[in-house]
Subunit: 96 residues, 2 copies
């Protein structure tokens, strides 16, 4: 049981929520994530930025009906790292 | 998917490790936990104190062969709260 193997970047529950949501969806907007996770704008924005900096999620900025639309998606790196994190978490929880 | 339901006191990976270990063992010593989790004394001590303050774990201090022996066990409250936390975590991870 090596807690060091858990990824510190996924420890925070908002980040767990962002990654979990993006693992089972394609592109999600800030509004989608906010509704899904029921967190404040500031909390969500800061954790999205943190995950972006680590390249675990990517951003797409476009105009839809001349309105700016920002959506997020998990990257290959993010998917791989999060899967690893979840596997270790599940082992830890089962006391293996 | 309500990340608010996750218990902030169990977010930290060392705390996850302490609770997971105590859920599947009876009394464990500081040394046992340190070896199981491979964390520093300071890190372990501070998170044990935090969990104690919330009454999620309890302490037993005794003398064995005239040497002080401190062991820890999960409380009923701790067991209940941690089970709830894990259930929500598992739902979150499965994107439910």
């Amino acid at each position: 049981m090596n807690v060091q193997e858990l990824n510190k970047d996924f420890e925070n529950r908002t980040r767990l929520g962002i990654m979990s949501s993006l693992m089972v969806n394609d592109w999600l907007s800030f509004k989608d994530l906010k509704e899904l996770l029921n967190v404040t704008d500031g909390n969500l924005a800061s954790h999205i930025k943190g995950l972006e900096r680590k390249e675990y999620i990517e951003v797409k900025k476009e105009f839809i009906d001349r309105k700016p639309n920002t959506t997020y998606r998990v990257t290959q790196l993010g998917r791989m790292e999060f899967k690893k994190h979840i596997e270790i978490l599940e082992k830890l929880i089962k006391g293996e």
